[in-house]
Symmetry: D2
Subunit: 406 residues, 4 copies
């Protein structure tokens, strides 16, 4: 193996499985390693540190492998400055661009390490004229931007998970429906309390099943009591939330009575969307007294900002929906700073979209009744996501009883 590079990984690399994962990635790539130096923390609080010599048969494989190792927090030892290339077309990164992780990242410029401002995965790094470094999604790059290429001079910090001290303590559980649910709900409530106490925001990402399962009034209660600071959803969630408040149904099923069977009004959500379009916005529909309750109402009333992202299956859609999905994602990005906890509630599309945008340090709880969905969400590079396989209807009822009893 002719091509060799030294990488270093430090932190709680043994009990957080980081070193094991790093060795795994090396061998899976058909490369090999030699451990050059290793210091194992004597106690559970001491960090560890390992230096590896990674060897591969060709330079390309080695380069791609170094990329992948950085996703797990392993950085090259050799510290040269980052290499920059100038973008020559709007919306296109230079070839060989450094592709970001969602971990805290630093870039070495003129011998000095500069912290990257807004970690987000699958983006490029743009060095601004004033020396700051920003993470930019591909579509925002402009011709003339200075973009980091290769992984020289870029280093990341793995999320450290010392025990007993951090938010991640109880998040080691794997995805399964067979967990004590009351206890899990209590834990999530506790995490939300801690987040609010330290000034962090809570983000709720909502799918339409929140309404269909009768959970919307409980979510509205959480919004009313200040437990939700930002809300992401799609046209379906908002339309059914409004339908259920204006007409008392969701997808034509009457929610309020015990009459789970009743159907009626297959076009209810359409009429509701049409009325909001007539008024111009959800806020206008609240202002003129047409909409008087529900999650969207509480968001408007309590000044909770929301983004409704469009999708090709939308009816209408509501006037508040961002029909351009690139704009929708940008609107979501603008609301993420200071978010500390994200609740993904029976949402696949918007939850994955949000997961793509979140820095690794945000705690995320993915609640869905379908184990396959929860696994998918938890798998998409969101190391920090805890999957909870349960019924979102009963989950939100119990959570609201913990945090916002009325």
């Amino acid at each position: 193996m002719a091509f060799v590079e030294r990488v270093e990984v430090a932190g709680h690399i043994i009990d957080s499985l980081i070193l094991a994962k790093v060795l795994d990635v090396i061998l899976d790539a058909g490369a090999d390693y030699r451990i050059v130096d290793v210091e194992i923390g004597r106690t559970s609080l001491d960090p560890s540190r390992a230096v590896l010599e990674v060897a591969a048969e060709d330079d390309d494989v080695l380069a791609r492998l170094l990329d992948d190792l950085q996703v797990h927090g392993a950085n090259r030892v050799a510290h040269s400055d980052a290499r920059l290339a100038v973008a020559d077309r709007d919306g296109v990164l230079p070839e060989g661009f450094y592709s970001t992780t969602n971990l805290p990242t630093e870039v070495r410029l003129s011998g000095r390490w500069v912290e990257v401002e807004n970690p987000e995965m699958d983006c490029g790094l743009v060095v601004l004229p004033d020396g700051r470094v920003r993470t930019e999604p591909m579509h925002r790059v402009r011709a003339g931007d200075h973009v980091v290429v290769g992984n020289d001079g870029v280093r990341v910090r793995p999320l450290s998970k010392p025990r007993g001290a951090t938010p991640f303590e109880f998040m080691t559980s794997e995805v399964s429906s067979e967990k004590p649910k009351d206890a899990l709900v209590a834990e999530v409530a506790g995490r939300m309390r801690q987040a609010k106490a330290r000034g962090a925001k809570v983000l709720a990402v909502c799918g339409p099943a929140v309404v269909h399962t009768g959970a919307a009034p409980h979510l509205a209660r959480l919004v009313r009591h200040g437990w939700v600071d930002v809300l992401f959803a799609g046209n379906g969630f908002a339309a059914h939330d409004i339908e259920s408040n204006v007409l008392g149904t969701s997808l034509g099923v009457r929610l309020a009575s015990g009459d789970a069977r009743a159907e009626g009004g297959h076009s209810n959500h359409l009429r509701v969307v049409n009325e909001v379009r007539r008024r111009g916005s959800i806020a206008a529909a609240v202002a003129d007294g047409w909409l008087t309750g529900g999650v969207m109402f509480e968001c408007v009333t309590h000044g909770v900002p929301f983004v409704l992202g469009g999708s090709v299956r939308d009816d209408g859609p509501l006037p508040d929906v961002h029909t351009d999905v690139v704009e929708a994602a940008d609107a979501m990005r603008a609301l993420l700073p200071a978010v500390g906890v994200a609740l993904m509630l029976a949402s696949t599309l918007h939850a994955i979209a949000t997961g793509n945008l979140l820095p690794a340090g945000v705690e995320a709880y993915c609640v869905d009744i379908n184990q396959a969905v929860v696994t998918k969400l938890a798998d998409r590079g969101s190391h920090q996501a805890l999957g909870i396989v349960t019924d979102v209807g009963l989950f939100l009822h119990t959570l609201a009883d913990h945090l916002a009893p009325e």
Copy 2:
């Protein structure tokens, strides 16, 4: 089509889909029909009635088709007496035996219709010396028994579902996780109240996930307050219920604290099983003060009879487990009379076993988080089963709060 037979179907055959299903079955078998006579009830309370001429190309197909039609309540018009054959070996039915449905059934003997005593599907009909007719599973047939063969002289009554008047009113919902859950739980609580009020019994069929999800204390509460009259489960449910009460864990996960993460004691359930074996029975373990709480404890204390059916995956098993599965099913049969509502709680194996034994008139609610399991249960000929796709942990918590607040 040379072979023709007339069949009749009566009751709420239009709005209960019975006639449609009957025509479907005929065409699917490659046979054809002509409607000879039809009276459609004018109003939603009037029953309807149809007489069909069914034609098939060969006698065999016609015979099998007539069998299948009876599952849906369509009987031959020609009323001869039932034909009987004598069983020549223990545990073997005569060739051509009438295979039962779980609908109310009558047999024509010497020109008189005799009601069959205990409807159960997939069994034979044995005519006793005193003229009574019993449903007997294959293994209970004895050489010399008189068994009904063919379907001459056998008629069934379809379950009628007039609206607004019967227990089945709200059971038309299809299986889906997207239903308003609080309303569904309230409905089930109401059905249980009505069943108890008319003197019917409530049966609970329990899988181990009832314990793992932390729902066992809520089920114990229902038992303690008299809401469960019979309990079916396996070794796993009982062992984990006892483990959680004696050691505070289930599969090594601590349930009581909010500490969903804690593991410990992978062999806890084994030690618990071993201790009950030493004492001889669960009742003995209660009697000597070793077991002081939980579902099994409440069953023993309140005289609620239970059957623990064995399975090949059992550890131990507990001394109360029927390790012979044929005996286990017979023990379950003995406890079914007077059961009016069956709750199937996160159990696949025992729920299917119970579904096989239940008469069609018993209301059954299948609660599981996995839609595929619920569909499977609801499909197995149990027309009367309502599938509820939800989290059994939160479901039982909410149900117990309705019925047995403490």
Copy 3:
């Protein structure tokens, strides 16, 4: 019940369950019925016909109920002309607009029934100056358009399903994973052959799992041999299809070798998207020889039109993606005429979007490994959809072996 209206339903209303469903909907709405006239077809080929008097307690309930009955093919008997109202704002329908089904529909104008041109559900009906009637989605309505309001003078035809004669013969199976799969695949292949023979088009709607499961080369084979006429997908499917052909991986997993384990290149799909952006379009990337195989390549090479609909989770996205979702849906609409068979392949978002747009007469096969997804698709008013719970990877392999052996 003071408010009464007569409705009529005709066709194969007994064995297609239509009459039963109509009665069900009436009773579920809290209304009642009296059967005024009924003619049941004597044989399985004769259509039936029923006239019902529907009674409700208030006019509103009755109006909404008549709406809902029309979804099932029951029309008012009283034939007045349709009422029209003029839209006063772009993108907003007049209050009380008639909300469409996806069934064949006629509108009565000046005493003459006019066939609606393009059935699609959840839209409005616009009467053009020349007397034609078009289905228009809400966002396309312009101030001044004449829109049908109420359901006077609108009638629909239920999809008739006589046995042995139509494409829908084998589509009565319910959703389940426990079906003989080789036989199902053969049936779908046969339906596609028949569609092509009568000049109808085949539409494929594809999710990224088509690539991840290794099925893309089999789908590419079907495109190459002319079995796919239109393709709908999202950025993920196209990006991973291109990634797998240019780099040999999908989500970093190497597909070609037997080495299912290998990971590498988490950023591969990003680099591929970036390169296509540099070239300007997928067609340009084919033209300059950079992309030389795969599903998208075959579409470009064989002139198969495709729509890539954007979503908020997209990376990049590819330059061919319609980032505005309303435009994306319009682009899909433009390609639907003449489609006779739709294959929905491991796609949730785009399959639901397509299902919303398809006329009821198009056969649709929803293939997914997750039963909950298949149920969801089959439930959304797409009466004509057959759910097939299976592995899309092995399904497409077997289907391509039937239709396009190489």
Copy 4:
């Protein structure tokens, strides 16, 4: 923390995640550790070794923790002889019995380490008069047996997974439906070839869905060509396999033709079971020419031993079914020696039962369409199980084409 013990763990403890898991278990138990000595293998082929000092606040917690650590291959350093206690009742282990893992295990007797003969989890260890040590399930213990208590003098060897050299190489994939399926099937075929080449046996554990999905002829082909050496199943699988061969249906669905829709003969499986009961056994039904094809026929004809384990849901059952589940499990145990590969095919009950009995060194492939089932199987302490989320019907077709083309 007053109570301290030293444990040692050796082998590929870094890249096989063993050390990380051991530290995790210690901290989860509320205990703490200090690393006393650690040698990390320099290359990917060198084993590593760590000695830890484990500290807990009370002796009980420490004892239970040492138990749990042994499941992961961590043994106490202090080497005293094993302590023995005499069982005082049949079927009951002495209090404090050592509860086994399924890893290779040794017991120290009179200063000498004795290899335990038949690793199986959740059992006791019985020292025979001749000094051999056997794993015995609870029910087989007899009064007077010498049983190991506590974990002094017991050590286990973690399964080592050096790369590139062992059967486990490709088994690191996690459960997901989104894997390239052709490649996975090819891998399983390759593993079966290697197992047979080294003289190991292949075990097939089968659920009824193997028949319902039309896969039984492909499995029969594998049996006929010698690729299956042992078969475990239940009454349902065998009854439906025989039904499909004698009557051409499974659960009344016709399998052979392309007619996936046809139903008929709901009692077919009962009649088939009855006929086999009349003949006395499946072998007798083959001998007298009544049964002429299918999986059970091939097993009888080619001398492949099988165990049909009873369950409470069984109809009949077939005379070959072990109705006593404890006997059934013992019959399964008797056939396990020399098994090197286990295929679990769409079976939950029998697959879990088999997983409980298998030594850790046997490769197991769990094939099911339901991700939750696969996760459950893979979770039950069977570190060596690979979950494959796919359609068993198409899986077996493809596998048989690899191994047994005809």
